[in-house]
């Protein structure tokens, strides 16, 4: 087994592993970590595949991976910030596990700030 293939397979398994964790775990932090693991898997695969098959050094996948890492960092930052806000609001860092029908019952009376002012007694 060539090392390229090994890395590629490792990348693929990281992706799968991350996917499993994403579905399995309820805590949002774990889900965010899972997404990151999946991302690393994709990046590893990208670099490994670029190295294999071609004779010359190919810079394009490396550029892609760097771009991808930047994107992943921003996404992670946003996700973490959202998680904190959610925990502040609900006290829990899990997804509100409601079916859409139940959710429709629980929607705030008026989610917008324009409408919220006259919302006091209408609940």
């Amino acid at each position: 087994m060539s090392s390229d293939l090994f890395y590629a397979l490792t990348g693929a398994s990281l992706f799968t592993l991350g996917l499993y964790a994403l579905i399995k775990h309820a805590h949002i932090l774990r889900k965010i970590l899972a997404i990151n693991v999946m991302g690393s898997g994709v990046f590893l695969l990208l670099v490994a595949l670029a190295a294999g098959g071609q004779q010359a050094f190919d810079p394009v996948p490396h550029a892609m991976v760097i771009t991808g890492i930047v994107v992943a960092i921003s996404a992670t930052a946003l996700a973490l910030a959202l998680m904190l806000r959610l925990r502040e609001a609900s006290g829990l860092a899990v997804l509100p596990d409601t079916s859409p029908e139940e959710l429709s019952e629980q929607l705030p009376e008026a989610p917008s700030d324009v409408a919220s002012k006259n919302n006091g007694k209408n609940a």
Partner: protein, 479 residues
């Protein structure tokens, strides 16, 4: 060369980006800056449209690097129409948001919205699949942040779910990109279209990218995140998400299928069609069961997205055109609906369908907007939805796949049922509502303008159809 150093394609991406930064740095001026820039962006899209209609499809190499290494911006009829519908909806929503968002949230709304606009324009102009990935991520992040803007547990939870789904979708897509690049050594769509051949790696890439994009497009059964996210966001954001953002990922899917995956994928196309049909029916039935107006509209989006996927198994020129036409008219109609729903919510403080009677008679313009947009969603004349449905029916009958006709028909009847369910509630005898709060006229008219645009698309179909042919996105490419 002047044409190389200045390009309207770049302008339509740079302008909203600059606007986003300015709005962010000068929060006090954010609203007015945003509005002025919205007009400027729309203006530059019009100039670009004029250019494309005279010169045909345009390709522009950013920085002069060219296809294999640099970033290419490509605009043909398909991307031009997407840019234009984004500009139209974007402009009207901007005007609406001027009145909708008061000081606090406006500070966050305008930079994020401009960023969203940047991402969409860049997405529709991208000529390579990796650049599409970057813009798709940018789009997703901006959209999630906009949903979270509403605050509250529901909105934050919906945003979180949306973000995770969106990231999962992007990663699947990126994995597909990696496979395609490995196989053919390029990410440029046009080059891929020339080099692509049917190999297991391509099948895997197709599966991964399609699934990733289906997550983002919210095709049944991957739609679960959409209704809560779209229903709990502020009204202008719901309008943008439902009308435009889900269409962006559909656009990528359409491009890929037309250019790269167009060979031997009959079974997969049938599968997409079946999922689309299921979405049409499931979304319709769910919309009928909703007690909240915004949830109803969100499920209506799930249903309407299904129609777009019915074109894959038909795969004729007429079908592609029908799909795009439905997409455009749905964008206008759905934005109008969410804006109208926003007005109703704003006015009465609630959006319970059963209690609309006190609200809707006092907001005739918003109700008219909702009704006209509803007509388009049902596919009744005169509306863009009718033209799209007509073409889709025609394409389905001509291909001999009559079972899609049944789906289209039942979907239309379901739409009529849930739309008229809402309208019927507005015709009860009105009592004086004490908690009512006046809605700024500009918000009512914004909704109506979009609805009228959807209606006009039913009368002036020749022009968009002619634009679609520019660069033959549905004709020559791919095979």
């Amino acid at each position: 060369m002047l044409a190389q150093s200045f390009s309207w394609q770049v302008t339509v991406i740079i302008l909203p980006l600059v606007a986003a930064l300015l709005c962010f740095m000068l929060p006090k001026w954010g609203r007015w800056l945003g509005l002025v820039m919205a007009f400027a962006i729309t203006g530059s899209v019009i100039v670009l449209a004029y250019q494309v209609m005279n010169q045909g499809a345009l390709r522009y190499a950013v920085g002069g690097w060219g296809a294999p290494l640099g970033i290419d911006l490509y605009v043909d009829g398909l991307s031009l129409l997407m840019l234009m519908v984004v500009a139209l909806v974007g402009l009207v929503v901007s005007v609406y948001s001027m009145a909708y968002f008061k000081a606090g949230k406006a500070v966050h709304f305008w930079p994020l919205w401009m960023l969203l606009w940047t991402a969409m324009n860049a997405l529709f102009l991208s000529a390579d699949i990796f650049n599409l990935y970057v813009t798709l991520e940018l789009l997703g992040l901006a959209a999630v942040a906009l949903v979270a803007l509403a605050g509250g547990v529901d909105a934050l939870g919906a945003a979180m779910r949306y973000l995770l789904v969106s990231l999962l979708g992007s990663l699947c897509y990126l994995l597909g990109v990696a496979l395609l690049y490995h196989s053919f050594g390029t990410v440029d769509i046009a080059l891929l279209a020339e080099r692509v051949e049917s190999t297991p790696a391509v099948w895997a890439a197709m599966a991964l990218m399609t699934v990733g994009l289906l997550f983002k497009t919210a095709l049944f059964p991957l739609h679960f995140w959409l209704p809560p996210a779209h229903a709990s966001a502020p009204a202008p954001v719901s309008a943008l998400l439902s009308a435009l953002v889900v269409k962006a990922s559909f656009y990528i899917l359409l491009r890929l299928w037309l250019e790269v995956f167009s060979q031997d994928s009959t079974a997969a196309a049938q599968l997409l069609g079946v999922l689309g049909a299921a979405a049409v029916l499931w979304g319709g039935v769910q919309a009928l069961r909703q007690t909240r107006l915004k949830m109803l509209i969100a499920y209506s989006t799930v249903s309407q997205i299904g129609y777009l996927f019915l074109v894959f198994p038909l795969a004729s020129l007429m079908a592609w055109q029908a799909g795009l036409y439905l997409l455009l008219s749905h964008a206008l109609a759905k934005a109008a609906m969410f804006l109208a729903a926003g007005n109703i919510l704003c006015f009465g403080g609630h959006d319970r369908i059963a209690d609309l009677d006190r609200v809707a008679q006092r907001l005739p313009l918003s109700l008219t907007a909702f009704a006209l947009a509803g007509v388009s969603s049902m596919g009744l004349p005169f509306s863009g939805g009718f033209i799209g449905k007509w073409m889709l029916l025609d394409a389905a009958l001509q291909s001999g796949q009559w079972w899609w006709v049944a789906v289209i028909i039942v979907g239309g009847l379901l739409a009529a049922a849930y739309i008229f369910n809402v309208i019927g509630h507005s015709f009860t005898r009105a009592e004086i509502s004490h908690e009512a709060k006046p809605v700024p006229a500009i918000m009512e008219w914004s909704a109506l303008v979009l609805a009228l645009a959807a209606v006009l698309m039913g009368l002036f179909a020749s022009w968009p159809l002619a634009v679609m042919d520019i660069g033959a996105p549905f004709g020559g490419g791919g095979s």
